[in-house]
Amino acid sequence: MEAITQDDVFLILKLIEESKYDELHLEIGDLKLDVKKQGRGPSVADTQSFAEESAVPSPPVVFPADAAERDLSDSAKAGMDENDLIPIKASMLGTFYRAPKPGAPPFVKVGQDITADDTVCIVEVMKLFNTVKAGVNGRIARICAEDGEMVEYQQTLFLVEGADDLDEKKRKSA
C-alpha cells in the first residue's frame, strides 16, 4: 500500500469540512484515522502527525458496535484477564444512559462495589426507560459503552470483578 501523504490528509480534512457529516472513520490497512468536527477525538494537529508515521495507534473508536475491540485494548492496558470478568449485557437495543437524568451523578463508577439488585444504567427505547440491574455481586471493573449512545441487544455494558474473585484476592494479599 502506498503511504498516505500530507496532501492526502489535507484533502480528506477538506472533504469532511465541506460535508454534512460530523465524523469520519477511515481504515486503510494498518492506518486508522478518526476525525470529528466538534473538537471531540483527535485534533487536526494530531491527525497530521498520524500522517507522518506509517503505522498509527488506533485512536478512540467512533462506533459503539466496536465495543468488543475496545474492551480488548482497555484490558491490555489494565493488565487484567478478560476471562475473569463478568459482563453485564444489554437485554434490549436502545440508548445507554449512565445516570438517571442529565447532569445527575452516574449510577455506578469504575471501582464501585455493587450488589445484584443495584441499578447500573438505563436503556431507553422510544421514551421507554428500562432500568438495568447488575444481576451480580462484585466491583465495576470497566464501563464498556458510551453514555447517550445506542447499544445493541446483548452488547456488554459493564465488566464486573465478581465477589468471589475479590474475596480470593483479599485472602491472597492477607
Binding site: 440508548t95 427505547v125 422510544m126 445506542m150 452488547q155
Partner: protein
C-alpha cells in the same frame, strides 16, 4: 430529501437484495439482525449490522420501537422494510414520519386501506372494476348462511384483515357453514386481532394474475405488466412466471389499465401489486387484493422489463420521479421463478431446517439467483423457509423452461431437504408445459400423482 444511509429492517435474501441495490446507488446500509442472524450474509455485506434482539421475530424483526431506535441510533435516514415482517405495518410508517425517517414504501393510509380487504373491495368496485361476487361483512352464522346461499356454494370465508393467502376457508356444503364461520372468526381474532369476516364466491379453474405497479410523488403511476402465480399450494406461491401464458394482448391491456386506475385513484406512491383472479372458463378477471410492498417474485418482472424495481423504490422515496415512462417500459422474453424452500416435498412439505453442507447454485446465461445461503449456513427454524429464488430468462416460455430444467439439475445442495425435486416434477408435467393449470392444480392434481 436525498437518502445517504438506509436501515434494512429485514433478513435473508431480500435484505441482501436491498443492500446490493443501495451499494450500487452509493448509499450506505445498516442491517437489523436478530441474535440468530449475526453471522448472516446480509450482516457481512452491509456496512454495519445492529443486533436488535433475540431470534424470535416477535421480539426482534417485528418490534416497531426497536427498529426505529436502531435506525436513529445508527444514523440512518431511511428504512427499507423488505417484504413480510413490518412491510405492511402502518404503525412503522407513522413512527418513521414522527422521527423524520423516510419509509421506503407507500403511505400509512394506503397500507391501511388496502390491508382492510373489505374496504379495498368497496373502493375498487366504486371504480367500476369487477370484484369477486361476495358479501359485505357478515356478523353472524345466519348472515353468513344467507349470503352464501345467495352466492351459491362453494364459497370462501375470508378475514377482512387477512390477505396473502391467510385467513381463508372453503365451504362446499351449506351444512358446514355455521361451524366453519365460528371457527373462521375465532381464528381471525386470534391471528389479526380483528374478527370481521366476509364471503366470496369460489371460482373454480381460476388463475392468479397480478400486475406490478409503481407510483411516484408527482402522481405518475406506471405498470410493469403481469405475473402469473397460479402454481400455489395452500395459497402459498411456489412458482411464478411473467408474462402469463393465459393472457392475450387485449386482456393484458385491460388488467394493467385496471391496476393503474386503482393506484392512480388513491395517489399511490412506491411499489405495489394489484392481484386479480382470472376465471378461465368465463374469461373474466376480478380484483382480489392489493399488496403494498415489494413482492418476493419481483425478479421475474425485472427480467422481462430490465427495470430494477428496488432501485426505483429508493429513488421514489428520495423524492425523484420514476426513471421510466410507461411508453419506455416494454417486455421481452419470458421469465420463471422457482422458490427453493427448505422443505421436504415427500413429507408433505414439512420444514427442513439445519446445516447446509454443500451449496452451489447453478450459473449461466439467463440464470439469476437471489439467495443469502452459503455452505455451512444454518437454516434457522425461526423464520420462513425460503433459501433461494431461482430465476431463468429465455427468449420465450419454452426457452425459459428449458433453462430452468438445466438450472434445477445443476443446483447442488445437501444437508437439508429442498423443494428442488418438486420443481423438477412440475416442470416435467405435460399440463404445466401446456400452461393448462389453475390455482388448485397442485393440490387437486399434481400432489395426488406425486403420491401425497
Amino acid at each position: 430529501m436525498g437518502i445517504s444511509r438506509v436501515f434494512v429492517a429485514n433478513r435473508g435474501e431480500i435484505a441482501l437484495r436491498v443492500i446490493r441495490a443501495c451499494r450500487d446507488l452509493g448509499i450506505e446500509t445498516v442491517v437489523a439482525v436478530s441474535e440468530a442472524d449475526r453471522e448472516s450474509s446480509p450482516a457481512r455485506e452491509a456496512d454495519r449490522a445492529v443486533c436488535i434482539g433475540p431470534p424470535q421475530a416477535i421480539n426482534s424483526y417485528l418490534k416497531v420501537e426497536t427498529i426505529i431506535a436502531a435506525a436513529l441510533g445508527s444514523g440512518a435516514d431511511a428504512i427499507h422494510p423488505g417484504y413480510g415482517f413490518l412491510a405492511e405495518q402502518p404503525d412503522l410508517v407513522d413512527a418513521c414520519e414522527e422521527h423524520n425517517l423516510i419509509f421506503i414504501g407507500p403511505r400509512a393510509d394506503h397500507i391501511r386501506t388496502m390491508g382492510d380487504k373489505l374496504l379495498a373491495r368497496e373502493m375498487v368496485a366504486s371504480l367500476g372494476i369487477p370484484v369477486i361476487p361476495g358479501s359485505a361483512m357478515v356478523a353472524t352464522g345466519d348472515e353468513a348462511q344467507e349470503a352464501a346461499e345467495r352466492l351459491g356454494f362453494p364459497v370462501l370465508l375470508k378475514a377482512a384483515a387477512g390477505g396473502g393467502g391467510k385467513g381463508i376457508k372453503t365451504v362446499t356444503a351449506a351444512a358446514d357453514l355455521s361451524d366453519v364461520f365460528d371457527e373462521a372468526s375465532c381464528e381471525a381474532r386470534a391471528a389479526f386481532g380483528d374478527d370481521r369476516i366476509f364471503i366470496e364466491r369460489y371460482i373454480p379453474n381460476a388463475r392468479h394474475i397480478e400486475v406490478q405497479i409503481m407510483g411516484d410523488s408527482r402522481g405518475t403511476v406506471v405498470h410493469f405488466f403481469e405475473r402469473d402465480c397460479s402454481i400455489q399450494r395452500r395459497y402459498q406461491k411456489m412458482l411464478e412466471e411473467a408474462p402469463s401464458p393465459a393472457v392475450n394482448e387485449g386482456l393484458r391491456k385491460e388488467i394493467c389499465d385496471a391496476a393503474v386506475r386503482i393506484a392512480r385513484h388513491i395517489g399511490y406512491e412506491n411499489a405495489g401489486t394489484v392481484e386479480f383472479v382470472f376465471d378461465q372458463k368465463e374469461c373474466r378477471f376480478y380484483f382480489l387484493e392489493m399488496n403494498t410492498r415489494i413482492q418476493v417474485e419481483h425478479p421475474i418482472t425485472e427480467m422481462i422489463t430490465g427495470v430494477d424495481l428496488v432501485k426505483e423504490q429508493i429513488g421514489i422515496a428520495s423524492g425523484n420521479p420514476l426513471s421510466v415512462a410507461q411508453d419506455d417500459i416494454t417486455m421481452s422474453g419470458h421469465a420463471i421463478e422457482c422458490r427453493i424452500n427448505a422443505e421436504s416435498p415427500h413429507r408433505a412439505f414439512h420444514p427442513s431446517p439445519g446445516r447446509i453442507d454443500r451449496w452451489k447454485p447453478p450459473e449461466g446465461e439467463g440464470i439469476r439467483i437471489d439467495s443469502h445461503c452459503y455452505p455451512g449456513y444454518v437454516v434457522s427454524p425461526y423464520y420462513d423457509s425460503l433459501l433461494a429464488k431461482l430465476v431463468t430468462w429465455g427468449t420465450d416460455r419454452s426457452d425459459a423452461i428449458k433453462k430452468m430444467h438445466h438450472a434445477l439439475e445443476h443446483f447442488i445442495v445437501s444437508g437439508i431437504d429442498t423443494t428442488v425435486p418438486f420443481h423438477q416434477y412440475i416442470l416435467h408435467n405435460r399440463e404445466y408445459l401446456k400452461g393448462d393449470i389453475h390455482t388448485r392444480w397442485i393440490e387437486d392434481t399434481l400432489l395426488r400423482e406425486y403420491g401425497q
